[in-house]
Symmetry: C2
Subunit: 212 residues, 2 copies
């Protein structure tokens, strides 16, 4: 299906152009025409792929999520490899949890691009039902996934009593919110990525019975 592949590749190229603008100056007031210019195609051609700015932003945001998933998967695989080789002795669920949360922080260029696109998305989504729907679908799924990991840590006796008493999904939602806020303050230059990661780790450590 070369045609479909081309179509997807072109959509990704356009999303990449949108990303570059998002990183360089934000998306406030950016038009389809601006993105077409950045992608070096005509406006008509761009509109063949995306009719509206929100449609384009939705695709760009999904693309950000997919790349974040990939990045987090790489982090987990690196850790899993170390466990298999006997380098690490700590049980996996809490590590997976930590890597997913750390992977959501803008700590390097790739994740910062994602966070900047996310910031632009957020500013529009608060006024757009369709864009909000994406968050309403994605976040509870993420909370359920992280909640399951917390339950597994608990089954292994690794979760402190006061954290084990809470609904795992609620606890996960608190962690997601914490990471979201920590990310905001990285982007605003209030603290460094390293500081934010330390604050996240500080919270995680006190959740575990062995404190690490």
């Amino acid at each position: 299906m070369p045609k479909k592949v081309d179509h997807e590749a072109r959509r990704q190229e356009i999303a990449d152009a949108l990303w570059r603008i998002a990183v360089a100056r934000g998306l406030d007031g950016v038009s389809l025409r601006d993105v077409a210019a950045e992608a070096d195609i005509s406006l008509g051609r761009l509109q063949h792929y995306f009719r509206t700015k929100d449609e384009m932003l939705l695709f760009a945001m999904r693309s950000v999520s997919a790349r974040a998933d990939e990045r987090i998967r790489e982090r987990i695989e690196a850790v899993a490899g170390a466990v298999a080789e006997g380098v690490l002795a700590v049980p996996p669920p809490r590590i997976v949890l930590r890597e997913v949360l750390a992977g959501m922080l803008p700590l390097d260029e790739r994740s910062t691009v994602g966070a900047l696109v996310g910031a632009a998305y957020f500013a529009r989504a608060v006024h757009d039902e369709r864009l909000q729907a994406e968050a309403r679908e994605g976040i509870p799924g993420l909370a359920a996934f992280l909640g399951d990991l917390l339950s597994r840590v608990h089954e292994e006796g690794g979760l402190r009593a006061e954290y084990a008493d809470a609904d795992p999904k609620d606890e996960a939602m608190r962690l997601i919110s914490l990471v979201d806020g920590l990310s905001t303050y990285i982007l605003l230059g209030v603290h460094s990525g390293e500081t934010a990661l330390g604050l996240l780790d500080g919270q995680l450590e006190r959740m575990w019975t062995d404190g690490r």
Copy 2:
């Protein structure tokens, strides 16, 4: 000084117009001309008060902060009144802390307006050094204030060991970040204000030695 009062009053009127647009449809692509139209004044007159959109946004954001301070002060005074009358027996610092944090959540119309202006501000500030400076000044001050409250709770023996071990400013930064993320997910419709407040209270309760 009637002239200065008028000047400030007019700036506030313009900021109010900006707020109304921020609430109704967001500030993406909104021009000085749009705000002038909403404020029912000429563009030239508006530019007498604000030369750029960022200057206007900075004023609107400071105005949001001032109103949030006022709202939080009201909440604290209401609680302090109840303590003085003997209705409440719980020691004040933890209550002040809780009211400040709860007051940052978009739980009613006034605080939602503030959060929506904040969202628009955030989306621009990530690309604007001058707007970022505002966050870099304000947030550490807030963290220091909340950190002092935590230290006072600790002095009264109210803070659990694992929270007392952390730097109070770090702990405060975690709470600010948590509230920031919880607010984001209220605005995106992921959870209700009530749910978010419950998640905040759940975190606070486990920080106190008596668990409430």
